[in-house]
Subunit: 153 residues, 2 copies
């Protein structure tokens, strides 16, 4: 099981936008800041726009901004936007193979239910943490240092 690298990129971009405040940041500048491939990064940022997490304005002064306050963007929002809404465990109902149809199959498969229970714990924890929490957990001065770096780009 692996979460795509886009989640790390997306979360750092959201955190950076929270630090920079009202400054729209272009794909090119994000790519420079984090030494990431611009074309791949752009796809991830566009997915965050489609999910309503970022807004995008075109033009030389344009770029991406958080679409809502950092406390209203959860890690679950970002993960879902980038990894899709599907459950990580996909039940293919192998319990039903080679067996006559039975009313017991109306009940969810116990294996799937157990895996789902664990996945819900993961989702609950992701939903309980926001970009504002990332801001709060950052080392002292991190926002100021990012603003200085950004000003020099």
């Amino acid at each position: 099981m692996r979460i795509g690298e886009g989640v790390e990129w997306g979360l750092h971009c959201c955190l950076t936008l929270a630090w920079l405040g009202e400054e729209p940041v272009s794909t090119a500048k994000f790519a420079t800041l984090f030494e990431l491939p611009p074309a791949y990064l752009k796809k991830r940022l566009q997915a965050l726009v489609r999910a309503g997490i970022l807004t995008s304005t075109p033009g030389a002064k344009g770029g991406f901004l958080l679409a809502r306050p950092p406390e209203r963007i959860t890690l679950m929002d970002v993960v879902t936007a980038l990894e899709g809404p599907d459950e990580a465990f996909r039940c293919t109902e192998i319990r039903q193979r080679g067996v006559e149809p039975s009313p017991e199959f109306a009940r969810p498969c116990g294996v799937a239910a157990a895996m789902r229970k664990a996945e819900l714990a993961w989702r609950r924890e992701l939903a309980a943490q926001s970009v504002a929490d990332l801001v709060a957990a950052a080392p002292p001065g991190a926002a100021a240092r990012m603003r200085q770096r950004y000003a020099r780009l």
Copy 2:
């Protein structure tokens, strides 16, 4: 993010072995029961043997058995055996790119820590559920029905 189909296969095989008791089950019989590709299934079963979850005995009467009581095989054991021990979220430390080395990087990245917190909730829930819990959650008569099916193979 996606958990491989092998986890569904492996859990159903463990549950089946718990139902059948002391009956060693061959790859071929598991493959027939669940209509699975024998070669791929065998790799998954061998991974469970390497992880100490199953034992394997060769020969015509041989097959796989649970290596320990069902209450001592957790879903976490099976998932780790089949998906590997790595964390789903891999931090590549993009926060450090293009920046001078700094003592603040001795602290874990806040993004990675937040993602890890959620993943630990998932792992804790998987570790809290055992194959014995799957047995307990199955519909009434499921073990007897499996024993009947198996006897007809």
